[in-house]
């Protein structure tokens, strides 16, 4: 019997789990994926928004602004790369300038810090590659960028170190309540006194299991392009276009790893698993990104991806204690700015749980820190020598493009909430994220995963449950056997 069961190990579920781990409670996280961070959290703009965008008075606005303020401390504690580089919403017409002013006013209402309106010269000074058509912009100094994968992994890792249990491949199939909740999963049943529904795209389905119908989720797909690091200095801020009747525009932003990210499109899709890329989506991104940065070189695209956001029909985050079953807390409809709001969402959920009668007693030995070595690629030569002295496996580069060492990959696999898949390794320490996209290191990573997890090469997965990388040994299809 657990005190709390959290459903979903995206950034929201992981944030809540880590918050719960500060108290003397027994907590389990139920994740349907093979590992953490396999759905919405893994594919978004990786931006910590200022908070001027959300309509005043909404939960979104409140939790975005608060979450943003929490990011520095959180990322310091968890050793996660976060850069407060600021954002610009750029206007190309007088009409768009009106929007910029409206956003400024809304931001002031929302108590967003570091807002100012810039003229063309001021913008050109800080963003020299921006289109000459620009006439003004809203600058928000408090906006930032983060690596959502590493953040989620770090949150879950820290939660686990502080006593939380993580059950992966545990899709919830049914929930019933007598005295306690009985949660049926694909990997057995779990009993818990409280349930936190942070199931992202499936939060409405989980809510239905206890008879809830307060909201439903609309799956909205966003496609992105990632450009090579050689383009990394083309933009310094998160560059938004003005939202218009036609849409929200395309943002161009640096990533914490030095790439450039363009996106997203916004398209309602029937299937929450629809992470496909479309020709039309990609050309939309190309056209619109050039509107902000005409000189951007799209031939430097190294990959494209898409993510599905859980848009609630109610237009606001649906975070509330269910009236259908006491002790069931919905954390649904966490679309953008969910990543920014996640730390604040976690605290908000704790408050709700308190109101619901859960007893919170601080854990005396809670360890807020999670330590991770600096990526080898970011070390200077002295640091590299030290790292090699500590672990000789640092002298073996597996990923040429991203300078990832074997020691880093092994560490990523063996940490709490460690990588289980090729893409899991990629998201944590970057082999396959570079310009060759795993063409050289792919076979090496499969080999290391198999060795470290004691798997057959054939059982190593790319990302999801049925995503085997290799389909047998050579000669086998001809009926011959070989030993490898």
């Amino acid at each position: 019997m657990f005190d709390v069961a959290v459903i979903g190990a995206g950034v929201v579920g992981a944030s809540i789990a880590r918050e719960l781990s500060k108290y003397n409670l027994s907590t389990v996280v139920l994740e349907k994926g093979v590992e953490v961070c396999q759905a919405t959290t893994k594919a978004n703009s990786a931006i910590i928004h200022g908070g001027y965008d959300a309509v005043d008075g909404t939960l979104k606005a409140k939790l975005n602004v608060k979450g943003n303020e929490m990011y520095e401390d959180l990322c310091n504690e968890l050793d996660v790369h976060f850069k407060r580089i600021g954002s610009l919403v750029v206007a190309f017409s007088e009409e768009e300038m009106e929007t910029v002013k409206d956003l400024y006013d809304r931001g002031i209402n929302n108590k967003v810090k570091g807002l100012e309106i810039l003229n063309k010269e001021q913008i050109k000074e800080i963003e020299p590659n921006i289109s000459d058509e620009v006439i003004g912009a809203l600058r928000c100094k408090s906006a930032g960028i983060v690596c959502p994968f590493n953040l989620t992994v770090a949150l879950m890792e820290n939660a686990i170190v502080n006593g939380v249990k993580l059950n992966t491949e545990s899709e919830v199939t049914n929930i019933s309540k007598d005295e306690y909740f009985n949660i049926e999963t694909k990997k057995g049943n779990i009993q818990a006194k409280y349930v936190i529904n942070a199931a992202g795209l499936y939060a409405d389905k989980i809510n239905e299991m206890i008879g809830g119908d307060e909201y439903y989720i609309i799956s909205r797909k966003g496609e992105y392009r990632v450009l090579d690091k050689s383009e990394g200095s083309i933009v310094n801020h998160v560059l938004f276009q003005c939202p218009t009747k036609k849409g929200k525009g395309v943002l161009v932003t640096p990533t914490v790893h030095g790439n450039v990210l363009l996106g997203p499109t916004a398209e309602e899709v029937k299937d929450p698993e629809d992470v496909s890329i479309t020709k039309s989506g990609l050309s939309f991104l190309t056209k619109n990104a050039k509107k902000s940065i005409p000189s951007i070189d799209l031939s430097k695209t190294i990959t494209s991806f898409s993510g599905v956001r859980a848009t609630p029909n109610t237009k606001d985050f649906m975070i509330f204690a269910s009236s259908k079953a006491k002790g069931f807390i919905n954390v649904g409809g966490i679309e953008s700015p969910g990543l920014s709001a996640a730390p604040a969402i976690a605290e908000y959920v704790i408050d709700i749980l308190k109101e619901e009668g859960l007893n919170f007693e601080a854990k005396a030995d809670f360890n807020p820190y999670r330590k991770k070595d600096k990526p080898f690629s970011n070390m200077n030569n002295e640091e590299r020598k030290e790292a090699i002295k500590k672990d000789i496996r640092h002298s073996k580069i597996i990923c040429r493009c991203e300078t990832t060492t074997e020691a880093e990959i092994i560490d990523a696999i063996h940490r709490p909430a460690g990588a289980r898949t090729v893409d899991g390794v990629k998201r944590r320490v970057r082999p396959g994220m570079g310009r060759c996209q795993g063409g050289f290191c792919g076979p090496r990573v499969v080999e290391i995963l198999a060795r470290e997890l004691n798997l057959d090469m054939e059982d190593v997965l790319k990302d999801y449950e049925n995503s085997k990388m290799i389909l047998g040994k050579v000669k086998e299809s001809r009926g011959e056997k070989i030993e490898i």
């Binding site: 030569n381 310009r435 997965l461």
Partner: protein, 413 residues
């Protein structure tokens, strides 16, 4: 550590350059190789057809590499395996290898890092991103060096040579290759590979077709292909789905020049490799380059030819015997994509091989070389295709008398 010549990369280009540098008087020569063995990509090319020009016999990739590895051993050339060069600055190299971080000083450096494959991102491949989408080279490594099948029912996208070779290879291993899909109206591979790898096995080559969608979220379940119009847009009504578990990409190679550009080497817009002269010298003093890092070759024999020039001149540089005289430029004229070398030192007194690629398929044309307006050489060509590199030899006599920049054009015969 101090060396006369340090060669970055132990593939065919690096091996050839190192041997030649040693033969021409460089005392201490070092090859730095990031993989587990010398030979580079040749090690995974277990098919034959290598060495027809160089050795007048048909070798496999590992056999071809082995001949050069033997020469490296016989010539007492040092090499480091599992070692990657992290940076080069003022001919000081920092490399990371089995012994940790090492500093190496060189008098001359030969860049021979080869190339990498274009990926699904680079070609805007639509659809899902499941397991089962591999570059042809990665699949080749898995199969030929590790012993694993990447798939059983395959569609190959692009008709580059590695893709064609893998079509045959996978067929021989019991997989079914459904089709090779090529967006161009002509194949991107060597004619002999079309014949020996596709025709001989009844594998269809679908020209002017594109993969418009990859199906399957977890593992590839199929692809949608369409006929393309002359602007490469899918023609409506021509869609059809092919069931498969694997897509191999053979859509081009890109010279690996991140290290070169960090070192200050000027790169050429079309080749994506260093701008070189007929000594295979780059704009950085004492830094030479050869092989696929300069431009992507279709035959390893030509790589060897080029690497010899780089190796020899690196040695001459060390011996202070290299002279830098006035150079003229080479210009790709009508019908020519690029020419290597881009500059010619006219006082060198040696014949020069111009390597180039034509832009289109041409029948019964000629290649015309001009010095300014004056035609200095013309060669009839019954058939030219972009995927087969053209080679024009300019005699020492011709080079000596050059007055200005030279251009090459494709013209009516």
């Amino acid at each position: 550590m101090k060396y006369d010549v340090v060669v970055v990369g132990g593939g065919p280009a690096g091996l050839g350059a190192a041997v030649e540098a040693k033969k021409h008087g460089a005392n201490k020569v070092l090859i730095i190789e990031r993989d587990r063995e010398l030979g580079g990509i040749l090690n995974q090319c277990i098919h034959n057809g290598f060495g027809l020009h160089e050795f007048k016999e048909e070798l496999t990739g590992p056999e071809y590499a082995n001949r050069f590895i033997k020469m490296v051993e016989e010539n007492d050339i040092d090499y480091m395996l599992n070692t990657m060069v992290l940076s080069i600055e003022d001919k000081k190299i920092i490399a990371l290898g089995e012994k940790g971080l090492i500093d190496i000083e060189a008098i001359a450096i030969v860049l021979a890092m080869g190339c990498r494959e274009r990926t699904r991102g680079a070609i805007d491949l639509a659809g899902y991103r499941p397991a089962g989408v591999y570059t042809a080279g990665a699949a080749q490594r898995f199969m030929n060096m590790e012993g694993y099948m990447v798939g059983k029912k395959v569609v190959i996208y692009g008709s580059g040579d590695i893709g064609l070779i893998m079509a045959r290879r996978m067929t021989l291993e019991g997989a079914k290759v459904e089709a090779v899909v090529e967006v161009n109206p002509h194949s991107s591979g060597l004619t002999r590979n079309i014949v020996q790898c596709l025709d001989d096995f009844d594998i269809p080559l679908l020209l002017q077709h594109g993969i418009t969608y990859v199906h399957g979220k977890d593992r590839v379940t199929g692809v949608t292909i369409s006929k393309l119009d002359s602007n490469r847009n899918p023609i409506e009504g021509t869609d059809r789905e092919i069931e498969c578990d694997t897509v191999l990409l053979s859509v081009g190679l890109i010279p690996e020049n991140e290290l070169s550009s960090d070192t200050g080497v000027e790169l050429h817009n079309t080749t994506k490799g260093p701008v070189v002269n007929n000594k295979m010298q780059t704009n950085v003093d004492g830094v030479f380059a050869c092989g696929n890092v300069v431009h992507v070759h279709d035959l390893v024999d030509f790589v060897t030819k080029e690497s010899r020039i780089a190796g020899r001149n690196a040695a001459l540089y060390v011996l202070n015997k290299i002279e830098n005289n006035e150079t003229v430029e080479t210009e790709a004229g009508d019908g020519i994509g690029y020419i290597v070398p881009q500059q010619i030192d006219t006082k060198l007194g040696e014949e020069v091989n111009l390597f180039m690629r034509v832009r289109n398929i041409y029948s019964n044309r000629k290649l015309v070389v001009r010095d300014g307006d004056e035609i200095i050489l013309q060669k009839k060509r019954p058939h030219m295709i972009p995927s087969e590199m053209e080679n024009l030899k300019l005699s020492a006599e011709l080079i000596k008398n050059l007055k200005g920049n030279i251009s090459v054009c494709v013209e009516e015969a």
